[in-house]
Symmetry: C2
Subunit: 548 residues, 2 copies
Amino acid sequence: MTARDDELVLLPLGGAGEIGMNFNAYGFGPPDARKWIVVDCGVLFGRETTSPGVDVIMPDIRYLAERRGDVLAIVLTHAHEDHIGAIGHLWPMLRCPLYATPFTARLIEGKLEEAGLRDRVRVRSVPLGGHIDIGPFGIDFVSITHSIPEPNALAIKTPLGTVVHTGDWKIDPDPMLGTTADINALRKLGDEGVLATVCDSTNALVQGHSGSEARVRQALSALIGSLKGRVAVTAFASNIARIDSVAKAAREHGREIALVGRSMHKLVAAAKETGYLADFPPTLDEADAAQLPPRRVCYICTGSQGEPRAALARIAAGDHPNVALGSGDAVIFSSRIIPGNELAIFELHNKLSALGVEVLTEQDHFVHVSGHPCRDELAEMYRWTRPRIAVPVHGELRHMSEHARLARELQVPEAVVVENGHMLRLAPGKAMIVDEVPSGRVHLDGKVLVEEGAGLARARRALGFAGIIAITLVLDSKGRVATDPAFVIDGIPEPVHAAIRDAAAEAIKRHKKGDEEALRESVRRAARRAASDAWGKKPVTRVEIVWV
Amino acid sequence: MTARDDELVLLPLGGAGEIGMNFNAYGFGPPDARKWIVVDCGVLFGRETTSPGVDVIMPDIRYLAERRGDVLAIVLTHAHEDHIGAIGHLWPMLRCPLYATPFTARLIEGKLEEAGLRDRVRVRSVPLGGHIDIGPFGIDFVSITHSIPEPNALAIKTPLGTVVHTGDWKIDPDPMLGTTADINALRKLGDEGVLATVCDSTNALVQGHSGSEARVRQALSALIGSLKGRVAVTAFASNIARIDSVAKAAREHGREIALVGRSMHKLVAAAKETGYLADFPPTLDEADAAQLPPRRVCYICTGSQGEPRAALARIAAGDHPNVALGSGDAVIFSSRIIPGNELAIFELHNKLSALGVEVLTEQDHFVHVSGHPCRDELAEMYRWTRPRIAVPVHGELRHMSEHARLARELQVPEAVVVENGHMLRLAPGKAMIVDEVPSGRVHLDGKVLVEEGAGLARARRALGFAGIIAITLVLDSKGRVATDPAFVIDGIPEPVHAAIRDAAAEAIKRHKKGDEEALRESVRRAARRAASDAWGKKPVTRVEIVWV
């Protein structure tokens, strides 16, 4: 039963336009009284180029925060940071229950603990394949495969139809950990009728199939078997199947395992606590592992993306307390390069090479498969679910556009490329954008949340590009210049400083008493122009006035 | 005839440890009276992550500058920026003649013109396959293939043996422009005996062969033939064979050509002036091309690396004066992604997608081949030249290490991985490092040269990361605080400012007169700690004192 003016809408606030920061809201009801559920609440990692000094970026959710009485739940598809990383920061704006399967729930609880929210938030654990009812939404959790335990697609059932929200997924017939994808459930949803499939676009530009973890495991075993010295393998700590693959491959060749890095320990513990890794080999601690002959040890390390404080960066810099690698040893990067991390990773490769360590990566060896669906897999998803509407999400514009093009080729009647903040009505009627709401990005800058639009990161980029001139002028009660000005000049070549000081002094000399604003502006301009003439760059230039 | 204490040494000052900034010096004579020639004088491009506000980076050549009376010549192998880009900046420190083949000479003259040095510098044009004698060095120019007209290997003959300095190269049996590689000359050098081969390492990690331009030309023709709307192709302007390939492919399908971007016009003109592109099709200007039906036009554009001011970035932003692309049009990236440019290029892809433009790249179509030798080609080079010593250059440490490993596998008796500033004695005796000289990087920061070691870029990174607090205190002649301090706070979240001001005021209040340094330091610490407590980051904090 639906009221005549009920609508079902999708409102992406993050992830439509970027790979990361996933945050999708589904609304049901008449336009003036919608009830909302949120699917995923993730972060995007900051970039030194565009947002120096910003660790993580999250969606601007003010639209929902203003309606939080109508936000019934946040449902998490899986535990990657780009799906759960913003919970600790954004939950206080929504204050609704969280729903997730056990492994994800376990990691969310850790996050809430860190944020001091553990006692305030109820995390409701949903069994694999489970069902929950939240207001007008009935949600089936459908097990799928990805690069972390317990990835779920959600079948969101409403009186106006069913949405299949895929989350991050691939089809791995042999995932080595957890169940295979519940293809029967997806087919059954297709048989019953799917209104819309809202789907991962990450690999929409990549032909073929993402490949199976089982083949990676075999290849890692062969590769590790061929190595004579110490072996360290780096992979995402959340890729528990991969960690298990490495451990088993190492054991097959008589190597002991040592986990290195805080998040490696944390994720392996979370997996064990939730029933995974029952046959994971015993691990040595780092110090004991260092006592073994080189060909008897395999380290499994954090730091595959060149993160400067992670285990592998410290090993490469020679300042890890317990792990040292050198000539004859090898490091296997069992991971992809996340775009933007190239230079940091190559620097890490070079540091390892400088130690004499052999570096083996997916560019030269088969040591990694992606966790996201390539085009053949996307085609299968559309064959199973047969939606009326395809809504690509989780991608940059180029991935989503190509994904939509593919969906149309596959005869999906409607394929809509959405943007963050665009409210897409899925039913009734043809899919269409019915509203545009405030959206954007919020930076976690230090420990303060700052709207991207406030321009703070842009202001710091300006400082990073051309430095700063700060001049303080001292005026007496009659508005006359009382003493020499004070200068703070930073980030500007030493030989340019004199020209700046001279130009400011000249401008002050020309000043007649009164009209402080004119004085301030003429000093500012003179100093900035002097820097530009001598240096070719225009620093941030600020002039303050004090009166004595 | 050699004197008993004559030595032949190689001193790389750039390019051993990075792909770029190529600068190699060869010295001959007794250690206290060496004569030098320099091979190549290039730049490295700055990175916003590590050196914000720095356009180009060049080698620190103070060691040679101090001996410039003994530096006899700079010989340029080819005209890429990473081989000739520093001439305008570094020539004044060496003031010796320049030698290059005609196309390279033509471009160097343009650079000298820009640097205001045209009248002071003699550029000596050497014919292809030519020979020059410079002091104890006899140099044969050996034509090779690469991704620019007139690449040369140099056979540097000395009384102590011959060095083959490859420059940048590949083996293209069908380069489509200029001659093929003079393999006979390389073989003949091998027959006569080669002491050392100093060789490009860029693709030492890549199996196989780099491929031929002829195949790219065929593939471009097929691809352009399949497109219906406007086509724009972006490639490096210096890759004249590629520009010619695009033009011919477009003409085959009835499209007119328009060149877009300053360096595209400049490089095509230089090629024509030096005898290349005799059958290049006539080009339309941008405005005329815009009048043609979409399927009759092909733009060839600068901007393949996402450079923000290049033609393609302006087209994608919709603010190019004469070129507009939209739905149904296509852009072909006939180029690789230079590491570090990924995010800028992907942003460009997304902007084009947002316009409805189809984006075609080497990731999904065969539209590019590398100009550098893959492992099979390196093996051929060692078979032809059969050196006693292999010296990998032009690579990061990882490329050079792997290159050396390959050379050893190929039975080269000695393979030496060098670092910038390490002086490698090639003869007499076993190759060994005999000296280490000052080396490093110099930043072109604005228009000022700044030593990397001076820390200016690092200082600006600190500003970019956490902003600045500049405080000016005003003291009277008795050392008492005369008035409220002035604050300049930039790059710090607004809500943190009050805490900084309050903390500084507190510290001032606690001050007893006299001991200005103690006052300055206590205010600095208080302000910085307040920022750190409220924000979690520590800004650059400077306190100045003025007396009235």
